[in-house]
Amino acid sequence: VVSSPNSTVQASSFAHVIFQNVAKMYLPNAPLECHYTLTPYIKPHSKDWVGIFKVGWSTARDYYTFLWSPVPDNYVEGTSVNRVLIFQGYYLPNDDGEFYQFCYVSHLGEIRGASTPFQFRAASPTDDLLM
């Protein structure tokens, strides 16, 4: 159960995938676009995936929902690539007041990136969170 102690090498690898333009709120039951950048430090694999996790998760098995992250067409190793995945509304959490985050998980189960947190909130006319 206890893995090798090379935690310092491991640590930097948590930022090999960078999530972009993550909103604070998403509509439940609507398609959700997830934008991310594969940095040159990651070698994408067809069994890598992006999961939506409730913040405070313990293991990669705690994902709420996930999508495979296909290897980009014409992928050149050592380059940076922007990707988009679209989560369908049906599989997303409801307006439950919880915070979630995207995580990129390698085919070996390693976390290679984590996003800032977001909530699912139904649109409401009394909600005006902008100043």
Binding site: A11, V55, S58, Q101, I111, T116
Partner: protein
């Protein structure tokens, strides 16, 4: 909380990293929201004072 399965050191470090990312952002938002809050409180106070002044003036007009 019901999950008691042992978690590997690497997974534990990974989940910690992800939580740090989330925590830092929530902390930033809390600070921003608290600042907005302070601005809004001042605005409410200023508007209330203005209304009180107007009310007093109107009273004067009615009485005078």
């Amino acid at each position: 909380s019901g999950k008691e399965s042992p978690v590997s050191a690497n997974e534990s470090i990974a989940s910690h990293f992800a939580l740090v990312t989330a925590y830092e952002d929530i902390k930033k938002r809390l600070k921003e929201t608290e600042k907005e809050n302070a601005v809004l409180r001042r605005r409410v106070r200023a508007l209330e004072e203005r209304i009180q002044r107007t009310d007093r003036e109107e009273e004067k007009n009615v009485v005078g």
